[in-house]
């Protein structure tokens, strides 16, 4: 969205230095470059996610999916985690908060 700011500035004739444009383009291209991660990386991430979420709820580990989605201006980590049920502990935390 910072890119949009830069573009907005360009069109409203507010001056944007070319180095800011360079930096923003670089930031975006690196997000995309770096997002081409190995399956090992995603598997390790998935296992750690399961470990953490299991503390709070019952999840369907078999049908859990984790992947990266590329969009024009960003990359998103998309996780689909079917929930089977909540643990009492999690509810307690809610009440206290």
């Amino acid at each position: 969205m910072i890119l949009l700011d830069v573009l907005a500035k360009m069109f409203t004739k507010e001056s944007v230095s070319s180095k800011d444009i360079a930096r923003e383009r670089l930031r975006l291209v690196l997000v995309h470059d770096r997002s081409s991660v190995s399956p090992n990386f995603l598997n390790a991430l998935k296992e750690d996610l399961i470990k953490v979420i299991r503390e709070y709820m019952d999840i369907d580990e078999e049908s859990l999916s984790v992947h990266l989605e590329n969009e024009e201006n960003s990359v998103a980590l998309v996780a689909n985690i079917p929930v089977k049920g909540f643990k009492r502990v999690a509810n307690d935390v809610e009440v206290q908060a």
Partner: protein, 266 residues
């Protein structure tokens, strides 16, 4: 004592790897260190001409790994500086003429006799790159303040870390202070922030590099050259000395400073 092996790499071509290898090597030799420069750019050898040693080559790196000569026979001694040597690349062979395993053995052999082994890496990320990094224990990544160069540096940093060469350091080359001040060139903070890597130093754009390369004399010899001063500071940093990094570039530009003082006085 075992010497350190540093590889000078970049991904993108033409950003100053060979210039950096020649100048850091010469600066370290001027500090009394024993240095060997290894040109691993097989087929496109250049470190010899930048150092002005091109007429003295008899054997090259491929001769050494093929056993055509002894390692010592292929080393060219620089007559200007005590303790400075060059192992030239082969010009007629290609990048596959040496394997990473052979390179590693070669560098380990050189470590025994030298304080620093500096390996000049070819551009790209293929076999030549893999060879160049295989014997090194530390990497210097050279980048210019441009989008394409910094992007390639990022890729190289990832590959270095995947190969177990952790903690590579960045050398920003060809920085133009005036353009940075006008906001027309990325500054050091921008680049370091994006790459999240340690900064080793900054070398300004400097015409004296062209002049000294014409003569085959590394620019660090020139006491008045800004790039030369920058390389000398970086060399001191490599030996562990704490030399503060100057904000715009590494040169202590006395003229600019003097102008500032004059302005303040008025």
């Amino acid at each position: 004592m075992k010497g350190r092996a540093l590889v000078i790499t970049s991904g993108k071509g033409g950003v100053g790897k060979t210039t950096t290898t020649a100048n850091l090597g010469t600066a370290l030799a001027m500090m009394g260190k024993k240095i060997v420069l290894v040109d691993s750019d097989i087929g496109l050898r250049n470190l010899d001409v930048v150092m002005g040693l091109e007429n003295r080559i008899v054997f090259d790196i491929v001769d050494v790994v093929n056993g055509n000569c002894k390692l010592k026979q292929a080393l060219i001694k620089d007559k200007r500086f005590e303790g400075l040597f060059l192992l030239p690349a082969a010009q007629t062979k290609d990048k596959t003429a040496v394997t990473p395993h052979q390179m590693k053995n070669l560098v380990n052999e050189l470590r025994k006799d030298f304080d620093f082994v500096l390996v000049d890496c070819p551009a790209g990320i293929e076999q030549g790159f893999k060879n160049a990094i295989s014997g090194a224990d530390h990497a210097i990544v050279v980048a210019t303040p441009e989008v394409s160069s910094v992007r390639d540096a990022d890729r190289i940093i990832g590959l270095l870390e995947a190969a177990g060469l952790n903690g590579p350091q960045l050398l920003v080359n060809r920085l133009r202070g005036k353009m940075v001040k006008k906001g027309d060139m990325m500054n050091i903070e921008d680049i370091v922030d994006i790459l999240s890597i340690d900064l080793l130093g900054v070398v300004p754009e400097d015409e004296s590099i062209v002049v000294s390369t014409n003569r085959g004399e590394p620019v660090v010899i020139e006491t008045t050259s800004r790039a030369g001063a920058a390389y000398r500071r970086i060399a001191r940093r490599i030996t562990g000395e704490e030399v503060p990094i100057l904000s715009l570039d590494e040169s202590n530009n006395f003229v600019d400073r003097f102008k500032k003082i004059l302005k303040l006085a008025r």
